[in-house]
């Protein structure tokens, strides 16, 4: 058994030894989000190049529901606030209220998905399916992949809330929160691209 364990005790729980001053869990999340920026970047760049080359897509874009996009944006921004409050609770070692705040964030995330679902069904029934034109293919692909990241975020936050309720692994609250903020930052660019640049 090695005398030098990798572990080091900090305010919110046991984290690995850290030469860079950033706990390993948060450092890993930064690298993961760096890769995610490229995934969404590749997708959005393809879409932007398509929009700039196809003026006719602007007519297609008229049918996107800006109001619903706006409401979803507000929901996500509010959910960010609760995640930050959960992080503050975790720092005060108050696992129970951190879990409560996380569950509010999860509820808001589910609300986002439900609204998105209505929006999809409304659009599909209006004939704006994925086959209609390449713009709609991009619309469904971008919002679909963003939506799947919201689902992953919801699952992660729920798991973190379960352990946080018992007061364990509180540093996870912050790492999951960072992931959630990133997913919201993606929506900050998806919203203007799909709903405002018409």
């Amino acid at each position: 058994m090695s005398a030098l364990t990798n572990d080091m005790r900090t305010a919110t729980g046991v984290i690995t030894r850290s030469n860079t001053g950033i706990p390993s869990s948060r450092l890993a999340m930064w690298f993961l989000l760096g890769g995610e920026v490229l995934i969404f970047g590749g997708l959005l760049v393809s879409y932007m190049m398509g929009r700039l080359a196809h003026p006719e897509w602007a007519e297609e874009a008229h049918h996107t529901a800006t109001t619903i996009g706006f409401i979803n944006a507000i929901i996500l921004l509010t959910s960010d606030l609760f995640v930050v409050m959960a992080h503050a609770d975790a720092q005060r070692k108050d696992g129970a209220s951190a879990a409560k705040n996380i569950m509010i964030t999860v509820a808001l995330g589910l609300a986002f998905l439900v609204i998105k679902g209505f929006e999809y069904s409304h659009e599909i029934s209006a004939g704006l399916t994925i086959h209609k034109s390449v713009f709609w293919a991009y619309y469904y692909l971008i919002t679909g992949i963003h939506g799947s990241h919201i689902v992953v975020g919801i699952i992660a936050l729920t798991l973190v809330a379960r352990t946080a309720k018992r007061g364990e692994q509180l540093q996870r609250v912050e790492t999951a929160g960072i992931y959630w903020h990133f997913v919201d930052m993606v929506w900050l660019i998806v919203f203007p691209l799909l709903y405002i640049a018409k």
Binding site: T10, V37, I189
Partner: protein, 114 residues
């Protein structure tokens, strides 16, 4: 080099208010002033501001070691490189030695002299 930067809830609520405010501005601008290119540029610049606020406050990048900014800036820079260098070839309707649909170039037409 803060392992655990202290979260300031008052500032968090203020950040939230700023983000929601700017989002409402872009929404209303789009709603009432149409969707022209001026509105779009305004909205996109608001978006960049929102990114910076959210990154520095919620992701507390303002207290995080600098190389995390470096990581994010370089990943966004590489996305921009992909956009700039492949924009000229992709989706365009014509180039120096090619043209796209029948409208742009008649099969076997006289080539444009260069």
């Amino acid at each position: 080099m803060a392992i655990d930067a202290k979260v300031d809830l008052k500032k968090a609520r203020m950040t939230w208010a700023m983000l929601v405010g700017t989002m409402t501005i872009s929404y209303l601008a789009a709603k009432f002033m149409g969707h022209g290119s001026t509105v779009s540029t305004v909205v996109f610049s608001i978006m960049v501001v929102q990114w910076l606020i959210l990154a520095s406050q919620f992701l507390h990048l303002n207290v995080e070691p600098k190389f995390v900014w470096g990581l994010w800036i370089s990943s966004v820079f590489f996305v921009a490189v992909l956009f700039i260098l492949s924009y000229f070839d992709v989706w365009n309707h014509q180039g120096i030695n090619w043209c796209r649909g029948a409208a742009d170039c008649v099969q076997l037409n006289e080539p444009k002299s260069f």
